[in-house]
Every structure is written in C-alpha cells, then in structure tokens.
C-alpha cells in the first residue's frame, strides 16, 4: 500500500494529501481533481486560480466538507474527513463540522428575499439556542452595513448583498472562510471594495481560500495555487 498519509500538523486549518475527486455520471468518469496535496495554515490568504473546469469549485466543496473525496486524504479543522480514499466521518459529523468551522461565500448571494439583513446573517445559527442578534449587528457594522440592518435584499445593491453574505458566512466564527468566485456578479469597483474587506478580515487573522479565474484579482493575493485540469500546476 502506498496510500498517502498525513504529516501530523494539527494546527493546520485544512490539509489534503493525494486527494482526488471523480464524479460518476452513468458510465462516464470525470476526474475533477487528481492527487492534490496542499495545506492551509491559520491566517493564510490563498487564491486558487484556474480556468473554467479546472476543479476550483470541487476543491472548495471538499475543503468546506460539502462533498467528500474519492481518493487520498483530507483533514479539516483537526478532523479526518477521509483517509486512504475512505470517508472517515459520517454525514451527521460532516454537517456539524461544516456548521461549526466553515464560512462559505458564492457568486450568487443566496439571501432570502423575505428576510432583513440582520435576519439573513443569523440564518446559519439555526441550532444555536442563544440569540446572536447583537453579534449579527456587529458583523454587519464590520462589513460596512450598519445603516442597512433592517433592509431586505431587494432594497440593496449587488455589492451590499454580497457584504451581507460575507457577514452571514462569519456568524459561526469560522476557522476557514471559503469564497467561490465571490466577485463574479459585481462590477470592478464593487469587486475592489469586497476584496479590501477580505484583506481586512485576513489581517484580523481569518484564514481565507478564494477561488477565481480572475488573474487580476489573484495578482493581489500573496499565495496563489494554479489549478489546471484537476492538478496543481504551481504554488502548492
């Protein structure tokens, strides 16, 4: 057996070793990721750069425990998700791990139109019994929307909606913030504002992995991992 094993570095936020993902569609096999080995240390801001179909979303979904690898090993927030190509954490455990440790931001904002900004930010706290209204307010102030607390998404611009989505992704005090093409839906000025916000959050110690095909955005991030056809071709 030459299965990849972990270096024991419990302090890493996420670590993949020889990780692969095959999607099966009928008889067809799509190798979305091949033998990815990469680690993310606390406080790092990493960009995953690659063209469409390179496997960026697949990688973020695995790091965010939204999906499981089909080969290799993956550890997130100190917990083994998969090892030697076998899933080691059951579905319920994965749901909990994701809820407690991961913040996720997407191109689309996924804000509920019937809820105010504060309510949207509180959504992921479903299971928490304590009322985190004041923390939701604090986060909205943090992302520059203190004046928009009770507004609904239809009353906001795209950039404002994405800020609400960012505040929502932070409500569980995540150890890892994943952003999949977060500025794909906004103009360049808004993009720059959102990027500055990521920068500030990172300066406060938040670990961020941002996927994009925007080379201009990637050029502003210290660590860039180039992904192509499911492989890291540079930067691991």
């Amino acid at each position: 057996m030459t299965e990849p094993a972990f270096d024991v570095q419990l302090s890493l936020v996420a670590e993949a070793a020889g990780m692969g993902k095959i999607y099966r569609r009928g008889a067809e096999e799509i190798h979305a990721l091949r033998e990815i080995s990469v680690a993310f240390a606390p406080g790092e801001f990493t960009c995953v750069l690659g063209p469409s179909g390179a496997g960026k979303t697949t990688l973020l979904n695995l790091l965010g425990v939204m999906d499981v690898p089909t080969s290799g090993a993956l550890r997130v927030a100190g917990t083994t998700i998969a090892d030697a190509g076998r899933v080691r954490l059951a579905e319920g455990g994965r749901d909990r791990l994701r809820r407690e440790n991961i913040g996720f931001i997407f191109t689309e904002f996924f804000l509920l139109p019937t809820l105010t900004a504060v309510e949207n930010v509180q959504l992921p706290l479903l299971w928490a019994e304590k009322d985190d209204h004041s923390y939701a307010v604090e986060l909205l102030e943090r992302v520059g929307l203190g004046h928009r607390l009770t507004h609904r998404p239809t009353e906001m611009s795209g950039g404002e909606m994405q800020r609400v989505a960012i505040a929502r992704a932070l409500i569980n005090r995540p150890r890892l913030l994943l952003a999949d093409e977060p500025t794909g839906n906004v103009d360049t000025k808004t993009r720059d504002g959102i990027f500055d916000l990521f920068r500030e959050l990172n300066a406060d110690g938040l670990t961020i992995v941002l996927a994009t095909h925007d080379g201009e955005l990637a050029a502003r991030i210290d660590r860039v991992i180039h992904l192509r056809e499911g492989r890291i071709v540079e930067g691991a």
Partner: protein, 226 residues
Amino acid sequence: MATPILEAIDVWRSYQRGSETIHALAGMHLTVQPGEMVGIVGRSGSGKTTFLNQVGCLDTPTKGTISICGTDVTAMLEKELVAFRRDHIGFIFQLFYLIPTLTAVENVELPMTFAREGNRRERALEALARVGLSEVRALPHQLNGGDMQRVAIARALVRKPRLLLADEPTGRLEHGSRVAIMDIFRSLRAEGMGIIIVTHDPTLAEETDRIIELRDGRVVDERKVA
C-alpha cells in the same frame, strides 16, 4: 360566503425616478377565495412582482387596501407585519434561495427558527414528505432544479400559510419537474389554500382556475379557465 383569503382594492405603488413618477401598480384589484388558484400573466414590467410584494407585505402600497384573511395589512406597523407575514403567507421564487451550506431539511427549518418554534425537525421532514422529497439530508448542490424547488416549496409550507405566492416558480425547470410542481399546487388548493402564481408560461397559466392579465399596473383581462 367565507372570508376571502385576499382582497386587494385599488392598489397603487408609485416610484419616483428623478422628476418622473412611475406607477408600477395603478389601481390593481384582486380577490382570492380559499381553495382558489389564480394565475397572473403580463409582459415584463407590467407590475406582477410589484403586486406580489404588496400582497406579501414585503412592500407598502402608495395607496389602496389589502386585506388578508379579513385583516387590513396596509394599516399595520412593520413589526406586526413581520409576524403576520410569517403566519399567513408562503413565498416561492424562480431562484430557489436555498442556503447552499445547509441540507434540505435544515433549509426547511429556517422559517421556524425565527418564530422560535418547537418540533422543527419533525415538521420539516413532514413538509418534505408532503412535496415528495426523500433526499432530506442532501445539500442543494446535490439536487436537481426540480428537487431544489420542492425544498423551497416545503419551506414555504412548513408553517401552514393560508396564502401561497409564487413568482415564476417553474421558470428554471424542465417539463417533468413543472408537472410535478403543479401537482403539488393542486393538492394544496384542494386543502383550501389560496394560491397566486405569476408566470410567463401559458401552459402553466392554463392549469389555474382564473387568469388575470396585467398591463401598466392594472388588470386588463380576466378569464376563468375552462
């Protein structure tokens, strides 16, 4: 006769754009009885979404009255409106607005968390069974469009609203899923729910009891479906 689920009388919604006033709604009338399914059609910009927003208490009319189950909502304060909306109205949109990091059943639990209600898991599972979704632990990205809309419908139903508002609910779905979604609407109607469906799809409109056509913010045609 039973109290209508909805009674909208001479509803106006005007917007100021620079020096120009746009009347998105200009004297809109509509009554919906329990167990009635109404289709609203009309070209883009005719005021369909604006109307649903007024009825759904997401926006306040410039003029006119809207009564839901006999209560005049145009006279309510914002705080009361929020509670009233949660108790009486379910919304379904073209985009499903599911939270991608939450499982299907967790997404359905959402509306109950704000009302701080008990038995959330059990009731969410019940609502999902109702719309025929068995993959209750799946994440949205693992579901097809039709199943995502089922989750969204279950979420709209879970607190048993009297009025269901659907804005282009099948706009993004293929034929098979559309048929399934219409079957769900029909069974809800049979239970006495009032349903308003905004659609561009003529075949979907033909499945309702009554079709209302809007133009420039008012009803220009109304007919019963045979």
